[in-house]
């Protein structure tokens, strides 16, 4: 059995080395590998094959605005986006991607269907919906829906926030508010200036179910 296995390994290796096929390649520095192959072979491990990730460390990419995805991948590639999870996981992934691959990756994930999370705390989510729809006038916090759309699906550079993991939303709002690690989100720094942790929790809980 072992001889068979060794034979298979050697044969497979030789065949693979001898071919120029890039199907199912996990090579992140080969411009010939398509965005779809990279999405399925590499990105899917954390973000899910359909862009609906399981662990909230990794954002759901399904149904995300392709313009936004292109922007983020380029920000990772240029190191302009430097939030901890961003550089820990994504700088390496994005470092050799070509513009073409980035466009293909964005097209792949934006075409997937977002699966929102289940309702866990209706009261908190209702509070979040209020902020999402109407903002908080008393502290000049505008409604999320103004830019992200009434259904939270986003538009161009404004990302989809509907159906995103609550924990991811909370962390990103904290990064916008407290750091300069996402310069592309300068607008969000102003918007989140007066928002409280309780309000962040509420709006994130709502968005996860939207």
């Amino acid at each position: 059995m072992k001889k068979i296995a060794i034979g298979l390994i050697l044969a497979s290796t030789i065949v693979t080395a001898g071919c120029n096929t890039t199907a199912s390649s996990r090579n992140l520095a080969d411009a010939k590998v398509s965005g779809q192959d990279l999405a399925q072979q590499v990105c899917s491990i954390c973000h899910g094959p359909d862009g609906n990730s399981t662990n909230p460390t990794f954002p759901k990419l399904a149904g995300q605005q392709s313009v936004y995805l292109v922007g983020q991948l380029k920000e990772f590639r240029s190191h302009d986006r430097s939030d901890p999870a961003g550089y820990q996981y994504m700088w390496g992934i994005a470092r050799h991607l070509t513009d073409k691959q980035i466009a293909e990756l964005a097209a792949y994930f934006s075409a997937q269907k977002n699966i929102p999370g289940p309702s866990r705390n209706p009261e908190l989510e209702a509070e979040g919906k209020q902020i999402f729809t109407h903002g908080i006038a008393a502290q000049n916090t505008p409604a999320c829906a103004t830019c992200h759309g009434p259904d939270g699906a986003g538009n161009g550079i404004f990302p989809r926030i509907a159906g995103q993991h609550a924990n991811y939303i909370e962390k990103q709002l904290g990064i916008f508010k407290n750091t300069g690690q996402r310069p592309d989100g300068a607008m969000m720094k102003v918007i989140t200036h007066n928002i409280t942790p309780a309000e962040v929790k509420a709006v994130a809980a709502y968005l996860a179910t939207l």
Binding site: T13, S24, N27, Q40, I45, W91
Partner: protein
């Protein structure tokens, strides 16, 4: 050596997954090995400057290949325990990323101190209480083709030769040997939202190809200078054939749910000896010896869990007795749970092995070994961590009075003449000042050693608590 065939002495634990830098670090370490404290401090400072001078994102070979931080693959940055992504990185043949120079180095400094008076108890060494350079490893690790890769470790054990134990011997005779090695070819087929990974593997330590940390090869006492389990007789799956046998096999992982593997192990001699050399007298096993592995896994939210089973069936030749073999059958069930969401990482591993031994010499009754190991680990911000390990290992002694007994010089087949049950706890705290350096303290408390509980004593190991041992370590990789 046969007497303690499965005995894993703490300091010579070069078969455990270990880490080190070699090259420049080695020269520093050699310099300070027998030096005084002042020189040691200089050495440590030099080592740190070596580490800190590097790019924070340029850690060992795999990280250079993916460009990612350690914590992408290691749970809470706590090497060697893998995250779901780290497991997939391994199962897909170490191929994610770009091909780079596949070299990395690792080093361990440490200090051990045993509670009991010398020379009682295992673990006492000529270097008790001194901070010493323990092991250094060179890794050849990385992507070979788009579908194949390698993880190969070679370890220099500064005290790898055994006669330094107890009588001090000559502590200067370290040597280098093959450590854990794993060659893979793998592919991943994706259809819609389902995926299927399959691969082939050649390795030199049964279980080292596994991706969960509830396997003996990766789960317990992974810090190379760890105390270990004192004189307990361990099942053969627990390092008994590490760097002695070579196996090849095939595996599949379906939809991140079902993992199955079948491998066959044979003696690591002849053309395979590059994977086993430098590890003492060759242990010979008869023909092909099967290893089977099944695991069910599930991810939900920030959590994931695995329930697994493995079976290892080995016929091992008794040294000096032509054609006489002992037959070991190991049934293991294991469990792993992980919670991974910054800033918290919490993991639990539990491993239960039952080994049945049928001796080759007529007249010996079968024996068995039961081992239970469990470990919980928490890290905060991938920087501060604590762990608690429990171990309880016991064996039958069905051949008391047999002239072939274990501790009798005339023993020919390694039967156990006595109950050598060992039980204890190892709490540990550690700190990762940078992602590729871990500094920690462990304290191993023995409730029972060699079948003797705390308060009792036996001729070989003294009181159980005399074996208690504190270990301080600095473990880094570059």
């Amino acid at each position: 050596m046969k007497t303690n065939r499965h005995y894993r002495p703490s300091e010579s634990n070069i078969t455990a997954p270990s880490c080190d830098y070699v090259k420049s670090a080695l020269s520093i370490m050699r310099l300070i090995r027998k030096s005084n404290f002042g020189q040691l401090i200089i050495g440590v400072a030099a080592l740190f400057s070596l580490l800190l001078s590097g790019n924070a994102h340029a850690v060992p070979a795999f990280a250079r290949q993916t460009g990612q931080n350690c914590l992408a693959c290691h749970a809470g940055g706590n090497f060697p325990e893998l995250t779901p992504y780290g497991r997939l990185f391994k199962l897909t043949g170490y191929t994610i990323g770009k091909r780079t120079i596949p070299l990395a180095v690792m080093g361990v400094f440490g200090s051990t101190n045993v509670k009991g008076p010398t020379p009682t108890g295992p673990g006492h060494t000529a270097t008790d209480g001194s901070l010493t350079f323990d092991t250094g490893s060179l890794f050849v690790a990385g992507k070979i083709t788009d579908k194949s890769g390698v993880f190969a470790q070679f370890t220099y054990g500064n005290y790898a030769n055994t006669n330094y134990i107890l009588d001090s011997g000559d502590p200067s005779t370290g040597h280098i040997g093959s450590d854990n090695t794993d060659f893979r070819y793998a592919d991943q087929l994706i259809n819609g939202d389902q995926n299927f990974i399959y691969g082939f593997d050649i390795n030199n330590n049964p279980g080292v190809e596994d991706v969960w940390n509830s396997t003996p090869a990766w789960g317990y006492n992974v810090v190379p200078i760890s105390t270990g389990f004192a004189p307990a007789a361990l099942p053969i799956i627990d390092g008994g054939l590490a760097q002695q046998a070579v196996g090849a096999g095939a595996y599949m992982y379906w939809d991140k749910t079902v993992y199955a593997e079948i491998s066959g192990y044979r003696t690591g001699d002849g053309v395979y000896s590059f994977m086993t050399q430098g590890n003492g007298q060759q242990i010979n096993i008869k023909g092909e010896n099967p290893y089977l592995r099944l695991a069910l896994t599930h991810d939900w939210g920030a959590q994931n869990a695995m329930v697994g089973y493995s079976y290892f069936d080995v016929n091992e030749y008794v040294p000096g007795m032509q054609n006489l073999t002992n037959h070991y059958r190991d049934n293991t069930i294991d469990f792993q749970y992980q919670y991974l969401l910054d800033p918290h990482t919490f993991t639990v591993d539990v491993t239960r092995t039952n080994e049945t031994i049928n001796y080759g010499d007529a007249g010996s009754a079968p024996d068995s070994i039961n081992s239970l190991m469990a470990k919980a680990t928490y890290t905060y911000e991938a920087k501060y961590g604590a762990a608690l390990e429990y171990f309880n290992i016991s064996n039958s002694s069905n051949n008391i009075g047999n002239t072939n007994s274990n501790y009798n010089p005339s023993a020919i087949a390694g039967e156990f003449s006595s109950q050598t049950g060992t039980e204890g706890w190892t709490p540990e705290v550690f700190w990762l000042p940078v992602q590729n350096v871990r500094i920690g303290v462990q304290y191993t408390m023995f409730n029972r050693v060699d079948g003797v509980a705390t308060g009792g004593a036996d001729a070989i190991n003294g009181k159980a608590s005399d074996n208690n041992q504190v270990v301080f370590y600095i473990w880094g990789a570059y």
